[in-house]
Structure formats: C-alpha cells, structure tokens
C-alpha cells in the first residue's frame, strides 16, 4: 500500500480556489451583463474589467508556480484516455485563463474604448483602433467564454468522478479533503 501523495503545494491550492471563485464570478457577470439593460449592467461591467485583469495577473503567477513546482503525478492505474483528458483539459484551462483577459483587453483597445481599471487608472491599448479587429475579438470573447464554462463543467465532473467514484486521492491533492489514495 502506497503512502499518501503530497498533493499540490499550499500556494497552488490557494491560487486554484481563489481563481475558481474569480473565474466563475467573471463568467456569470459576463453572461449576465450582456443580457440586461438594467442599472446592474454598469455595476457588472465596472467589476468585470478590473477582475479580468486580476485574473490575468494571477494566471501568470500560477503558470510560473506550476512550471516551477509541477503537479502531483496522476494515479498509475488511471486509464490512458483519462490521463490524456486530464492533461488536455488542464492545458485548456491555463490557456483560457490567459487568453480571456487578453482578448477582452485587446477587444476594448481595438474598439477605441478607454480601458479603465478604477478611476483615472487606465491600461494602455494593446492593439490598434480597428473595427474589424474589434469584431473578431468580440466574437472570440463570447465563444471562449462558453468554451471556458464548458471546460470548467467537465473539470468539475472529472474532479467529482475522482472524489466519489474512483476515490483515488486526485481530488484530495487539490481539495485537501476527500478519499486518500490507497
């Protein structure tokens, strides 16, 4: 019988759960604000922009931490197709964490909008003011949001599959609770 794996480092767990809350908040804010004309539109969009930039900054930190500390190995007995799916979905999640804020920032730049974080704190434009570029990025931002939410659902499903069905310690590696590997 193997001893329990170490799991992710404390820093990685904090980053994971903090960003989980931030990203889900972000996706719900995004899908809500584009579907309302009510005063909450302005509240939501005022949160959306600085929260997106915060996610971008944390994603960069998280990627650096991941490259330095790595991740605990998956169970030896995990079917190859599931191991592949895990690697692919984690790659997708990292890519989306970086891409969504950058596409949003670029879309505002290309749309000629000021990128306001708070008050007079503005970010520079990262792309030229160009209507066709704006159109492409605006569509991309929406499509990636749906891809992101779907990927998160699959990630949650897989995590719960590890926690409830396989009970192999993979959930515990990030959550700190749940079945140990035996």
């Amino acid at each position: 019988m193997r001893t329990e794996r170490d799991g992710f480092s404390g820093l990685q767990r904090v980053l994971h759960w903090l960003m989980a809350i931030m990203v889900l908040t972000m996706l719900f804010i995004g899908v809500s604000m584009v579907s309302t004309l009510k005063p909450r539109f302005l509240t939501l969009i005022t949160i959306h922009k600085p929260l997106g930039i915060a996610i971008l900054a944390l994603a960069a930190l998280r990627l650096a931490v991941r490259l330095r500390l790595g991740a605990p190995p998956l169970p030896d007995d995990l079917p190859r197709i599931q191991a592949l799916a895990a690697k692919l979905s984690h790659f997708m999640l990292y890519a989306l964490l970086m891409a969504m804020p950058l596409v949003g920032w670029g879309m505002l730049s290309a749309g000629g909008y000021p990128v306001v974080l708070y008050g007079s704190l503005h970010l520079p434009e990262i792309l030229p003011h160009d209507d066709q570029l704006h159109a492409i990025l605006r569509t991309t931002h929406t499509v990636l949001a749906y891809v992101f939410f779907t990927t998160i659902l699959l990630h949650v499903a897989a995590a719960l599959f590890h926690a409830l069905i396989r009970r192999d310690g993979v959930f515990r590696a990030m959550a700190g609770i749940g079945p140990r590997n035996q």
Binding site: M1, L27, F28, V31, S32, M33, V34, S35, T36, L37, K38, P39, R40, F41, L42, I45, P75, D76, D77, P79, G111, G112, Y113, P114, G119, S120, H122, H129, D130, D131, Q132, H134, A135, R138, T139, F149, L153, V156, A157, L160, F161, L164, I165, R166, R167, D168, P179, Q182
Partner: protein, 366 residues
C-alpha cells in the same frame, strides 16, 4: 492495474451507490448549467436584452447594416473644447480645468434608416468625445429636445416597436404612435416640444442637451447633480416644414459643410445644477428654469467629414464613458444606453463590408 482493483481497495460501492454518485455529479453539472443559463437570460425570454432592443431599433426602414442602429444618419466633426475653468470647483474632471482639449464628435438625426431624408430628423443630436492629456475620456450623446421621450428602457422599447416598419405596408402602423402616447402620459412634454418647436435647416443653430442627469464630484468628494447642454451661438432660422421637403435629402450635411467653410462654429457648454427634489432619474421631466447655470467653456467645431471615412465612425458614444469627477446618476436610461450602444457597436463593427470605407491607397486609413 485495472480500475476495478483500485476501487476495491476502498469499501466497494454497490451498483446503486455508484448510480447515486453519478447522479450527484450529474446534478451538480445540471444545476450549474441551469444557473448559467438563467444568468444569461435564456430561461426568461421576456427579459428585455440589448439584443432585443437593438433588433427593434434595426427594423425602422432602410438598411442599417454597418451603421449605428439609432441616430443612424450622421456626419463626423473634429474640434476643441476650450474649458474656462469655471466647473473646476464642482468637478475634478481633467477636461474641465481651463485649457483646450481635442474633440471627435458627430452630428446625427434620430432615425433608424441611415439613408433617411434629413426631413425625418425631428430629433437632432450631437455626440462628443473629449480627451484629456492623461487619456481620460468624456463621451456624451445629446439631443436637441429639452427632455427625453421616455424615462426607462421598457418604454423606449415599446416606443421603438411602435415605429417599426410593418412588412405588409412598408410603413409604421399609423395607430401605434397614438396608442403609445395615450398609454405613456410622461411622454407629453416631449410630444409638446416635438409638435411646437420650430424646424430649421441646420445642426448649427440647435441646443443639445444631456437629458440624463449626472453627478459632478468636486475636489472635496462632494457630489452635485447636473445636466449639461451645448448652447448654440448661431440664432435659429425657423423654416416651414413644407419648405424643408423641397430641400433634398441631405440638407443638414450641406449646411454644416457650407457654414464650416466660413469658419468654425461654436457652442457654449452650460452646466445646470439641480436643487433638492429635482428628479435625477427621470429624463422626461425638465428641471425648473431658474436653476443655477454655469458656463464652463466653449466647444469649437472646426471640420466636418463624411462618416464613412470619418474619425467618429469607429467610436461608440457611450454616455457612461466618463472621466474622474463625473459619474452617472441613478437614471435607468444610462445603463440601458450603455448596454444597447455596445450591442449596436458590436454588430456594426462586424458589418464593415456593408458600409465600406472609400478605397484609398493601402496603409492610408487611420
């Protein structure tokens, strides 16, 4: 090592336990997806979304593809705001400090058809984008009516539907506007203006009003409820409506270009301060005429350019894009304008092929 062997190391799950646990996982996913769908409005098709609002605006005749879905016919201008500093004690906005600030603006008429005749322009508008040296922006879209026609987005949607073209006749339902007016008494002040204000042949002789209320924030953090207006320095020349009909479809643009060929046009930027009790959230109601009014600067319009290649084309004149020192009020129209303008902008920037730029040598487009 197989899956099953691994699972047996925990107390094995009965078939029904496995089923139950899969059901839990399924339930989590389903609930999450449902919540997301609710947030996005898919479960509440009656919700008035920017998409529905802009679709209604797009159905008022002509081909609006590539164009703003309201105030669809317009012309760009460039100029300068010359602030005199009088507003600085009420707002820390950087472009209200005495100085000169570049402006990219647009004159338009409130129609849905970008090829409409200018005689359809009962409501004329001016939009401005004023930029401070530190990159802050003040965007404002103003109309020549003293009040707005409705106070909330739902009423604006109903008004827009009343103006939509009936495919059977090619015209709006003639009874629809009367029914709207009868059921929306707060639109009466606008209707009164619409029926009695003199028509003119120019954008230059009109006053343009913010209509919505905003808040100026001063250096001490105190807030002042305000509306603002661009007041013309050219006196209006009333023209009978019948005469306008003989002037061709584009008399406003011709008038503007002709006037600017003689020199710049100017407006006084005047800020009106509310007294306690004046409505902050109802653009259909004028404030009493004795309110304090402060002349805070001069807008100098120097040059007009056709919109197709003009500098205003690719700006969204969202009135909630404001510098520090100016914030939105609780007027519900402001959020609705911001959301709907964004939708219109998203649509039209994807439709550039329907509103081509004039071909120029490669790389010459700004």
């Amino acid at each position: 090592m197989s899956d099953e062997e691994n699972l047996t190391r925990h107390a094995p799950l009965s078939l029904s336990a496995v089923g139950g646990r899969f059901a839990v996982i399924g339930g989590v996913l389903f609930t999450s997806a449902l919540a997301f769908a609710y947030a996005g409005g898919w479960l509440t098709p009656d919700r008035l979304t920017p998409t529905r609002m802009v679709a209604a605006l797009s159905d008022r005749g002509g081909n609006p593809l590539g164009h703003r879905r309201n105030h669809s016919k317009g012309i760009c201008f460039t100029g300068v705001l010359e602030a005199n500093g009088a507003a600085s004690q009420y707002s820390v906005a950087p472009m209200l400090v005495a100085g000169r600030y570049p402006v990219v603006g647009r004159f338009a008429i409130a129609v849905g058809n970008p090829d409409a005749s200018d005689i359809m322009g009962r409501v004329k508008s001016m939009a401005v984008r004023i930029v401070s040296p530190n990159g802050q922006e003040w965007r404002s879209g103003m109309n020549n009516s003293p009040v707005f026609v409705v106070s909330n987005p739902r009423d604006f949607y109903e008004l827009t539907l009343a103006q939509d073209i009936d495919p059977a006749t090619g015209k709006p339902d003639p009874g629809a506007m009367n029914r709207f007016s009868a059921t929306h008494p707060d639109s009466a002040p606008f209707a009164e203006w619409s029926q009695t204000a003199p028509w003119t042949t120019s954008w230059a002789d009109q006053a343009y009003n913010s209509l919505n209320a905003f808040r100026f924030i001063d250096g001490g953090g105190a807030s002042h409820l305000v509306r603002w207006s661009m007041e013309p320095t050219v006196s209006p020349t009333p023209v009978p409506h019948a005469v306008l009909a003989s002037m061709g479809p584009d008399f406003l643009g011709h008038d503007l270009v002709r006037r600017l060929s003689d020199g710049p046009l100017t407006w006084r930027l005047v800020v009106t301060f509310a007294e306690p009790g004046d409505p902050s959230n109802d653009a259909t109601k004028a404030w009493p005429s004795d309110r304090k009014r402060v002349d805070v600067g001069t807008l100098i319009v120097q040059k007009a350019e056709a919109e197709a290649d003009g500098p205003c084309r690719d700006f969204n004149y969202d009135p909630t894009i404001l510098p520090t020192g100016i914030t939105v009020s609780d007027d519900p129209l402001l959020a609705a304008r911001s959301a709907a303008y964004a939708r219109s902008f998203d649509l039209r920037t994807a439709e550039a092929a329907d509103y081509p730029y004039t071909p120029r040598p490669a790389g010459d487009r700004p």
